[in-house]
Symmetry: D2
Subunit: 211 residues, 4 copies
C-alpha cells in the first residue's frame, strides 16, 4: 500500500542501529514533511560522507580528509604515548575513552565483536582486523601494552579471549609479542551502582581494586 | 574534535523523531562503515523522495507520483464512504487505522497537535490546516460525520476541543456544518490492560461502552 | 547461613504478590530494625485480620465484622441497582470500579481467573465460584445483566468465555438465565494512549465506540 | 470505605521498603484469602522475630539467639581476618559481599547513610554508629584497614567522606587510628556494562584498574 520509495527508504532505515520498522516509518514521514532544501542537505551530507572522511590505516578511526595527512589526529599526534594500544570495538567507544582525558595512548578499532555477528562476512572482517592488530604489534617494538578495552559482556569477553589466544600462538615467533603486556579494563561498581544489586564477579573485583 | 561533516550529519539526525545525540552518532558511524554504494543509495532515496511523492491536496497523505492522478488512492477510491472524515494527527496514525480494515471513510491529516508544538510556525501550520478542514466540510455536503481520531492525550484533547470550537463558530454560516455530527474515539481498556491499573475515566468509559 | 526464622519469614513474604526473594529479605531486615512495639502491632493486625473481617456470602467482598450484618455494605445497600452484577477477578478490581462512581449495581468476585493459576486446587475454587454465580443468577430474577468486568488479557478473555459457555448450557433450564444479558467491558484507547501504538483490536473498538 | 483493620494494615505495609499503596492493598487482600492457619503462622513469625534474633554488639549483624553466644558467627569466627573491617550500609550489603566468598575480614553495619535520611532521629543513629566504629577501631590494634564498602552513590560517597573526616579528627589522639589504612571499593565497568554508556569517572577507574 505504501509508495515504493517510502518502503525502500524504510527498509534502509531499519538497518540503522536501534531502529525498528515503526521508527523507520516515522523517519520517512519526518523527511517527507521537511522543506525540500533540508532533505537535499541531508542527502548531500550522506552522499559526500565517505569522500570527506578518511579511515586511518593504523587504527581505523575516521577523520577529516584534508591535505595529505595519512594518519588520524591521534595516531599522528607526537604527544600521545606510543607504548600502549587500547583495542576497542567501535569508534564510539574510542570517543567515550577520549572524553575521560585520562588515556594518552593509541587505539585500534576492531569494527565489531566476534559472537554477536551473525553475518559470516562481518566475522571474517573482525578476524582480519585481529590479524592486522597482531602484525602491527609484532613490527612496532615501541608497544609495551595492549589494553583490551572491550565491553565486559559475553561478546566482549569472548573476543578478548580470542585475541589473547591469537597473540599467544605468535609469541614464540616474535620477540616483541613475547615482552608485551596484555591487560583488560578493571571491573567494579559503576558510579551510582549498588552493592545489593551487583553480581558476584563485579563485587569481587570492586574489593580487589579497592584503594 | 569530530570531523565537521560528521558533526553536521549528527546535528541533522538529532532532529529526527526519537533520536538523541548518542543514537545520532551511532547512525553516522554506521554510515561510515557501509560500502560506498549503499550510502549513495540512501542519499539518492532521500534526495528523490519529494520528487517521487505527492501530497494529496484533500487529505495531506503522501502517495506515489505517477501519471496525472491528483488525489491519493484513498481520496480517489470510489468504494470509500464519502460521508465520514477521520481527522488524524499524522500519517502513521492513518496507517494504523487502515490496518484495522474496519474504517472505510476518508481522512484528514492535521500534521500535528496544537499544544506540544513550541515552534510558532508549526502552530500556525496546524491552525491553517484546521481552517482548511472546516472549508472542506462546509463545501462538501456528502460529509455527515467528522471523527476526531486524535490521541486521548492532553495535546490530542486540546486540539479536538479547538476543532469543535472552530466548527461551532461557523455553524450558523453553513447549512452543512450545522447538520454534521462530530465524534471522538471511544475510550476503554486496551487489549492486555488491567482494571486495577486503569484510570477512572478509562474505566468509566469501558463500563459505558460495554456490550 | 541465615538464621532459620529469617529464612522462614522470607519464604512467607516470597509468596506475597509481586515479591521476589531480594525484596522479601529487605522486608525481614526492615522488621528486624523496627522497634519491638511496631512488629508486635503488625503481627497483631495480621493475626486478627480474619477475625475482624467477614467475607460477604453473596459477592465475596471482605467487610468489617460488626453487629449481625451478614451481607457486605454493597450487597445490603438498598440504593444499589439490583438488576446488574459485575463479575470481577479480585477485590482490588471492585475497588477500582467503585472509585469511578459510575457503576451502581452489584458485584461478584471470582477470586481468580482460570488459566493463570497453576495450582489445581485454586482452579477448582474458581470453577466452584462460577457455579455459585450461575446458581445466584438462576434464582434471582431481579438480575437482568451480567457484566463480565474481567481484564482484557488472555486469562480474562478465556475466563469470560468459560462463564458464557456455562451460562449457555443452563439456559434451557432456567427462565431467568434465558432472558439475561451478558456484556463485556468496552475496549478502546486508554487515557494517555496513542493510536500509533494501539493494537488493531483496541483501535477497531475505539472506532466502533466513538461518540 | 475500607474496613478499619484493612486500612491499618495497608498503612503498615506502605512503610515497608519499595511498597506503595496499591501493592500494600494487594498484600492485605492476599492475606485475607489465605487459610487462617497461614496468617497465624506469618503473624507468629513476625511477632517472635525479635525474640529469636540477636543483634551482634560488635558489627550489628542479626543472628540466631541460641545458647550464650554473644557475638555473631562472623565476629566470633576464629578463621576470619581480624585486620580488616568492611563498613557497609545495611545487612543485605553484607550478605552480597559474603556471597562472593572473596572477603575474609570483619564487618560493621552503619544502619543507613547520612543524606538520604530525612528522619532526624535516624540521622543521629547513624552518627552514633560512626562514633561507635571509631571507638572500636581506636581500641582494637589488630585492625589495619577500614574498607568503606558503601554504594558509589551520592549518599554513599558523602557518608564515606564524613567517616574519613571523623577518623582524621581523632588521628592525633590515637596511635592505632594513625596507622590505619582507609580504602574504598574500586569503581569500574560492571559485568554486562558497556563503555559507550559508562560515565567518565567509571571509565577512568576501569582504565586505572586494568590488569
Amino acid at each position: 500500500m505504501r509508495p515504493k520509495i517510502i518502503q525502500k527508504l524504510i527498509d534502509q532505515f531499519v538497518k540503522f542501529p536501534t531502529v525498528g520498522p515503526r521508527t523507520a516509518a516515522r523517519f520517512v514521514f519526518y523527511l517527507i514533511n521537511l522543506p525540500e532544501k533540508e532533505t537535499k542537505d541531508i542527502a548531500e551530507l550522506i552522499s559526500s560522507l565517505k569522500e570527506n572522511i578518511k579511515i586511518c590505516p593504523l587504527c581505523h578511526k575516521s577523520f577529516e580528509r584534508n591535505g595529505d595527512e595519512n594518519l588520524c589526529p591521534i595516531c599522528s599526534d607526537k604527544m600521545r604515548d606510543k607504548s600502549t594500544i587500547a583495542v576497542v570495538e567501535k569508534e564510539i567507544d574510542l570517543e567515550a575513552i577520549e572524553k575521560t582525558k585520562k588515556y594518552k595512548g593509541l587505539y585500534f578499532i576492531l569494527g565489531g565483536t566476534i559472537p554477536n555477528i551473525k553475518d559470516e562476512q562481518k566475522k571474517q572482517d573482525v578476524r582480519k582486523r585481529i590479524e592486522e592488530l597482531i602484525k602491527r604489534v609484532k613490527n612496532d617494538n615501541k608497544i609495551k601494552e595492549i589494553i583490551l578495552a572491550l565491553n565486559p559482556t559475553t561478546e566482549g569477553e569472548i573476543t578478548a579471549l580470542l585475541i589473547e589466544r591469537e597473540i599467544k600462538k605468535e609469541k614464540s615467533l616474535s620477540e616483541n609479542l613475547d615482552k608485551i603486556k596484555i591487560t583488560k579494563l578493571g571491573k567494579g561498581l559503576p558510579v551510582g551502582g549498588e552493592l545489593e544489586y551487583a553480581d558476584e564477579q563485579t563485587l569481587s573485583s570492586a574489593f580487589e581494586n579497592r584503594k
